[in-house]
Symmetry: C2
Subunit: 579 residues, 2 copies
């Protein structure tokens, strides 16, 4: 292990060449922030209601060592009542229906989810903020409304929705993973939070994200790392780290994450739920905090994480068609969510990417692709093997886009507090050409490369009548915390701006089956990055890790992607995450 | 006159402070290009068929001096046969219907338009290239297709469409106004040209544009300036200069222009037709040549110029819904053209901008606004007087966006040939901070200002239930060639990205009526720019100049804008440009 560790460190260091990391950390300045961080942590700790506190069977470190499946434990140890289980294992649309028909109250639903979500936090560190009391009041208001008016307030009446902390919340701190923003109180809700609230959603948790929002993991200076609920030794993914964990654990019916390089899909895939990265500008990001204001080369998007594909459809449809984001944010497309019927398997052509030619997928991912492709073929789907063109160019270009301001904005936000840089922050600041400030013409050149790539992939799909692209979300299942360096599989669809659904295959990693073969051992790594990533896969370390894939469609075909997702996940793979 | 001229020159010079104009002109280098330019001009001259040549009643200079209305002359001097008049004074949809029903052939239609368009060119210099022989072959092929298949090839079967030269045309030079690109042969049609061709359009003319495409006028080093057909002493506008002239003269049923700061609306307004600047990304600009590749802060759009609002609707609908630009250009929205019924006047609320607080409109424009507002009120439209907020910030910001690469790309394209800079090229290179190269963070800051402006205007419309904004297209009617400095009225809707229809009011300038009042004479100019612009309005110089206005809607509501345009132009104002 030490040997491996030192090889990893050496590889990591050898890949860090573009940033000097000067002008960031300042221990003296940071000292002033330590009491504020302590206060912030204390508020979170104090917000855990006594009645929701979990007695761990063993010290948490031992549970981590044992790779505890916390979801399994939740059921086996009966941490919730049968009624709470029943409620929290319902889809959002079922919840609304049950409230509408008087079987459940919003308060009842809320308490069950708040309980389950607070347990999720204790196992996974998914929360930055908990405010169960406020949520309870919201729920009570909804019940009062229903009683008085004899109808629901909206299509999300009483649905507990978790929110990535980055999305502004009226009257609360919004730091987006930057210690320097710990005094930043949002004057109002973000557009998305407001729309969800207007539609009847109830909030009680704002969830974790990494420093800078640019890791597929969760490290920051506010909290411990966030864990995968199905194996708490693993990362929940990122940057919507807490969303992955809380939704997969069942602590909210719908989670709202954001994705600029994989940040909805990675936590959904790693933690054990589904997540949609919509095409840009279908959901509003206005009122969110990040380093990306005004950056248009590869914009971040908001997207839902859920335990059913139907709930993704339900959330997108109600948010867009009844929430009218274009009335509050001129950047939002006036593009209603179309009713697209679930397709017939025999009408579909899907191109499958097994390897993006940058980083070889690990054995469980390969098994996932093999299994899904086999089942799709059996169902009558036409499968085309697809070697994606120009993935190296795409990866270089998108990584340059992230850093092309010479990390000026990140440096400003980080230097504000002088906070210590996380290892993966250093990694992400080193993308592209790191600290080199591009000229505007250079930035425009990146955009034209991006547009040519988009047309290359679009042409491939049009000319070959390919409906969707199936691919890994990442070259591995959930990594150990802090050990995720490659994001070529997710960023490809950010630079292409293709709507992409990360979905659970229903498979879990099995240390007995998912081993490197003898042939694998002879493999010549194509890059240090691949070596670093592949070396991290030791079968014994990834027990029960969820195996997920992603399905991408052409731009603005979000509806088609979700409809096909229902066919694949519900009908063909028969995945049921609601136990 | 001399006095005025020298005041104008002094003002102009005093406003030119941001560019040194170093690194552009190079007389030695330019010498190599002179024979190529001569050859290019000769080809255009040779392309005028003998039978289409016009015998001017007097030398052209005298006609210019007399402010000839060339359209009027066309009818009075009977330059076309009655049949040619009948055909060329038909809308695109009527043309298609007449061909479909066997009353006309595509060849017959084509010849009539080619004749009229070639006359237009002789009066207005609207063409960069004429290729009547090729168009005739295209038309013949369409007739053959119809004969063989008993149906039309598409919804634009046989419609003569003129194309701004900037849009790539297979096998032909595409220089976009840059002498340095005179050897640039387009390997294929632009996406828009190809789509129109596939839908059955016929081409024979590629039209003029100014050097750099950044003037609301037409000066370049390839040709004389382009004239307004209704008063050939005036500018046809720009940058789709030739489109304005040829469409208004009746030389094509539909023209395709591009608009980054007013370049569809100015030539439509000045020359005497209608023009739509759609929301970005509804029509594809792929395969066009400009300095703007990869520039996303304020992207150029393509848009139609026509003599009926119905034809704008027809073109947009067929292009989008049957042409499927998203199959050829991943930047194009998958946003079908919606069927929006013509609204009831009494259902509409329109906010009117009479003065943008930057440059005071001249008397004919004020009369245009007064007349239209009066008629709208009489028809039952609710009119709100609207002082647009932050117009100075909007104008500064959009102008900075145009030049924020420090004019690097423009300099590269101009320096390639070392061609002499047009006066208005110097003017436009001086926008914002001219030669200063912005950092990427500064560019992003401009984008956030833009987004805040968009939300400010969007909020105004949503909160006050305003359907549309009515405003001048420019502070004057068509200026004298080269005398157009302000574009605040058009660029406002580029930075807002609001779909905007420039439409004819049916009024023409009248030197007797449209005079500065005594009160006007006492006016204190708010800026040198305003002084420069207002000083250029001498009533006697603008005889018969068309008076146009523009109607803007919220983003992506192109359909609503066009539908309201039909109500206003056809029903309320009863404008008929088809004689």
């Amino acid at each position: 292990m030490t040997d491996h560790k030192s090889i990893e460190d050496a590889l990591f260091e050898s890949l860090l060449t573009k940033e000097t990391f000067e002008g960031y950390e300042d221990p003296e300045k940071f000292k002033q922030y330590i009491p504020k961080i302590e206060q912030y942590k204390k508020e979170l700790q104090d917000a855990i209601l006594d009645e929701y506190k979990v007695d761990f069977p063993k010290p948490i470190d031992e549970l981590v060592e044992e790779q505890l499946d916390a979801v399994d434990y939740l059921y086996k140890a009966k941490l919730l009542t049968p009624e709470e289980i029943k409620i929290t294992d319902s889809s959002a649309s079922e919840i609304v229906q049950n409230i509408a028909e008087g079987r459940w109250t919003a308060v009842q639903v809320f308490k069950a989810f708040a309980h389950r979500g607070t347990i999720a936090h204790q196992f996974t560190n998914c929360a930055h903020q908990l405010f169960v009391d406020e949520g309870l009041k919201q729920a009570q208001k909804l019940d009062d409304y229903q009683k008085k008016n004899g109808k629901l307030i909206g299509p999300l009446h009483g649905v507990p929705i978790s929110l990535k902390e980055q999305s502004g919340y009226k009257g609360k701190i919004t730091h987006a993973g930057y210690v320097g923003l710990i005094d930043n109180i949002s004057p109002k809700h973000s557009v998305t939070t407001q729309i969800l609230s207007d539609l009847g959603a109830v909030f009680y948790i704002r969830t974790t994200q990494p420093q800078t929002l640019m890791h597929l993991c969760s490290g920051n200076n506010f909290s411990e790392k966030t864990k995968c609920p199905f194996n708490i030794a693993l990362s929940s993914g990122g940057s919507s780290s807490g969303e992955g964990a809380v939704v997969s654990f069942g602590g909210s019916a719908i989670g709202i994450g954001s994705d600029i390089g994989g940040s909805v899909r990675s936590p959904a895939a790693f933690s054990g739920c589904h997540g949609l990265r919509p095409t840009t500008r279908r959901l509003s990001t206005l009122g969110g905090v990040s380093s990306g204001a005004g950056q248009e080369s590869v914009p971040a998007v908001y997207g839902p994480l859920t335990r059913t594909i139907g709930d993704i459809d339900y959330m997108m449809k109600t948010y867009i068609n009844e929430g009218h984001p274009w009335d509050y944010d001129a950047w939002s497309f006036y593009m209603p969510w179309r009713e697209v019927p679930k397709p017939q398997a025999t009408d579909l052509t899907i191109a499958v990417i097994r390897d993006d030619e940058l980083v070889r997928p690990s054995p469980p991912i390969r098994r996932g692709v093999d299994t899904v492709v086999k089942k799709l073929k059996e169902a009558g789907v036409d499968i085309i093997e697809f070697t994606p063109p120009n993935t190296e160019l795409a990866y270089e270009t998108v990584n340059k886009m992230y850093c092309c301001d010479g990390n000026e904005k990140q440096r400003e936000l980080l230097a504000k507090s002088g906070e210590p840089l996380q290892k993966l922050t250093k990694w992400s600041l080193n993308y592209g050409e790191g600290a080199r400030n591009y000229s505007i013409q250079e930035n425009r050149k990146l955009n034209t490369i991006r547009d040519a790539l988009r047309n290359e992939y679009n042409d491939f799909m049009v000319q070959n009548k390919v409906d969707f692209i199936l691919s890994p979300v990442y070259n591995n299942v959930a990594p150990r915390p802090g050990q995720v360096y490659n994001w070529s599989y997710t960023t490809l669809f950010n630079i292409l701006d293709f709507p992409t659904l990360a979905f659970q295959t229903g498979l879990k990693q099995d240390p007995e089956i998912d081993v490197w073969t003898e042939e694998d051992q002879k493999y010549n790594f194509r890059s240090k990055l691949e070596q670093l990533e592949n070396n991290n896969y030791k079968p014994e370390n990834f027990k029960h890790a969820p195996i997920a894939l992603q399905l991408s469609g052409r731009r603005y075909r979000d509806e088609e992607v979700v409809a096909a997702g229902k066919l694949i996940v519900d009908d063909i793979l028969k995945v049921n995450l609601l136990h």
